[in-house]
Each structure stands twice: as C-alpha cells, then as structure tokens.
Amino acid sequence: MDVEVDLYSGRPNPRFRLEPAAAAVLMHRLAVLPPLPGRATPRATLGYRGLRINAGVTESTVTEIVVSGGAVFVRDRDGSEHVLKDVDRQLERWLVEAGAGQLDPDEVAVLDQDLKS
C-alpha cells in the first residue's frame, strides 16, 4: 500500500510504502475502530494535514483511507464512505512510525511535533 503524507502545498508530498505485513496490520487495526458520530472532515490547514492511503489492488473492499486529526475516512470500492474514530490518534501515530524510515528526518520531526500537540 502507498501512503501519502499530506504535508505540502507546493512541493510534492512525501510518500512511503507499507509492505504486505504492515498493510495487513493496518487493515486489522482499521477493523476494530469505532464509528465517529456526527460530521467530520479531514484537516484542511496549511502544513501537515494527515495521511492518505491508497489501498491499491487488494482483496479488501476498501479503496482509500484518510487518517487525519483523530478521524479515519474510509472509502469503499462501491463508493460508500464511513468515518471512524482514531482514539488519541493512535492509528496515525502507528502509521508515522511505520513510515519514518522512508521519510526525511525533518519531515518526521514535523509530524512528531504535530502528533504531540
């Protein structure tokens, strides 16, 4: 799975790859997240906004996952969308840790700082 860090406005966003084992863990984590009640939208600020995951060709029904500021926006192949709660941004944190080795250390520091706030 390819993960795009939604960070920049002008420059191309950094990306990292989740190997099949990590992708499987992600899908398992996703399956146990509770729904998020009410309306939510991904962060739309200047600067770090979240992570966008393209599920690619898998057996899963999920096609795109956006993890942003405590919410997870899941779009299925049939076009339906649902929003889950990322308690304490744990899934976002796990993803950043999973991709840290493939990212620029300065960018990882920006993400870590955001996750602390």
């Binding site: 406005s9 002008g10 420059r11 739309a44 600020t45 200047l46 600067g47």
Partner: protein, 308 residues
C-alpha cells in the same frame, strides 16, 4: 534593534529601515552570521553600480557582542558576493521592510510594497549576475548602468471569478493540482512546479529560487506589464515556509470579488486563511508556517501553457 541600508543607488539616498522586534532581530542576526564568509566590515571598493549589498548596523552593544559583530557589517550581493547564499540572506533582510514605516531618510524612497518588490527584483538580478559570473569568468556581464527608480507604472490585469468547484468537485482534479496550478488558473493534473515547464525547476525552497522558476515559466514581477496578447494576466503572490523542518512554498491569486483565493496542495481551493478569515491581503493573512512573503507577480497565458 537593527538598521539596514540597501546599498543600491549612487545618487539618491539609499533606502534604510529598522527592525525593532527582539526575536526577529536575533533570528536575522543568526541567519546573517551563519556563514561569516558572506560578511565584510565595509563595502567592497569595487562594488560598482546596481545592487551592491546591505549595510547592517546593530544598534545594541549587547546584541553585537552576542553575535560577535562590530557596530556595522556589510553583506555584499551580486558579483561581489562572498558566496551563493548571499542573495537568500539579502532577501530575508528585504522581507523585514515594514510598509508604511515612517523611519526613512529624507529623499529616500518610501518604505512600501513597491520598494520591497523593487529590491527583491534587483536582488534576483544580482543573483543571476553572480551565478553567470561564477559559471563563466570569461563572460563578464556588467550590472545595469542606469539608476532605477521605484516602480510607478500601472499595468492592466485580469481578475478571475472565484470558482472553487472547478478545482474541488472532481477528487482527481483536487488531488493532482496544487497552489501553483491555482495561481496560474491552469489545471495540469501534474502538481505543477515552478520552473519545471521551462526545464529549470527551482533547486531550493527560497523566495529567490521559486521566483526564478516562476519567472522562467513566464511570470513577471509586479509592475512589469504584459501586453494584451498575454491575457489573462493574473495578480498572484508567493510566500515561503522557511523551516526549520517544514520547508515549502505557497501561492495566492487575487479574485474578481476582491479577495484572494488559494489551494493548499491537494486540498480544496478556498478564499479563507488559517484563522478562517476571508483573505483581503495575503501579506497580513494568517499563513501558518508560510511566514516569508516573497512578493507579487503577474501570470500570463504563455505561462499557463508552459507550466508542468
């Protein structure tokens, strides 16, 4: 406090401005002293005509001691520059001009945005000359001999209506077009980069480099008018996030309705800033980490066709 003089004119008094904010002063001195090879005690004797450099006076003894400086230091730019970072540091000094600041010498140009744009433009020109002279010592290019005046021209431009749906309704369009696409009002679906279209993309994220890329694509500095054949000629603004850590550029475009629109990366186009206020002035809008205002530019039709 700092007093900065742009050493550019030969007849008129040079523009001089002061910086009082303590944290800004310290940050500026840190940037200035990061590469001491760029600094001299006085201006080089062979400074010539055109933009020669900046004289920076530290008005506090304590500050001067903290940064190991004398009462004044000189940052040469252009062909006398002490290194390739001189223009970048100079640009930071220019960005400290506070438009409307009354503290300027009699007969010197007023401290306003046209002056800031003019100095940035001249600085870019000096940087280009410097890099030319480094590339080929045999190919010496003289700086412009005539003393330029602060811009006092009126250019005809076009302002497009704010139409966020054009960028937001289709997820593929939204994700694959960025702030430069929005400023150019041209969807390439390539996340266009300044200078990529003309084959000379920026090499670092600084005002100087991103400006160079955009100019190479066909943009002009503000007040450098385009003919009617280049319609639409949009007014746009460039800002930079200088880091540390987060380093990026961002563009805004003035809309027909009077406010400014922008599109942060793959997110939705909008006309509000980080405080959720409608943007009436990109210089004073809340721009988050994009703290350096580089200046205003005009886009044009050739530039639209060139961007990639």
């Amino acid at each position: 406090m700092l007093r900065i003089m742009a050493d550019i004119f030969s007849g008129r008094p040079n523009p001089t401005w002061e910086v009082g904010d303590e944290s800004e002063v310290r940050a500026t001195l840190r940037a200035l002293t990061a590469d001491r090879g760029l600094l001299t005690d006085a201006e080089p004797p062979e400074g010539g005509l055109g933009f020669r450099g900046f004289r920076v006076e530290v008005l506090s003894d304590e500050l001067a001691q903290d940064f190991g400086l004398g009462a004044a230091t000189y940052l040469a730019v252009g062909q006398q520059a002490g290194g390739p970072r001189a223009a970048e540091v100079g640009e930071r000094l220019v960005s400290l001009i506070e438009p409307g600041d009354p503290r300027t010498a009699a007969d010197a140009p007023p401290l306003d945005m046209p002056l800031r744009d003019f100095l940035t433009e001249q600085l870019n020109l000096s940087a280009a000359l410097e890099s030319q002279s480094r590339a080929s010592l045999a190919d010496q290019v003289a700086p412009p001999a005539e003393e330029a005046a602060a811009p006092a021209v009126t250019c005809t431009i076009e302002l497009g209506a704010f139409n966020p749906g054009f960028w937001n309704n289709d997820p593929n369009v939204r994700l694959n077009n960025n702030c430069y696409n929005y400023a150019s009002n041209w969807r390439t679906n390539t996340f266009a980069q300044p200078g990529r279209g003309c084959g000379h993309m920026y090499t670092s994220i600084t005002c100087t480099e991103v400006t160079r890329g955009a100019i190479c694509d066909g943009m002009h500095h503000r007040f450098d008018c385009f003919p009617d054949s280049e319609k639409p000629r949009y007014l746009v603004a460039l800002v930079v996030a200088p880091g540390p850590g987060f380093v990026d550029y961002h563009w805004y475009r003035k809309q027909k309705e009077g406010f400014w629109g922008h599109k942060p990366g793959g997110t939705e186009a909008r006309n509000w800033d980080e405080s959720h206020n409608v943007i009436t002035n990109p210089e004073t809008a809340n721009r988050g980490p994009y703290t350096i205002f580089c200046g205003y530019f005009y886009g044009c039709h050739s530039q639209q066709l060139r961007i990639k």
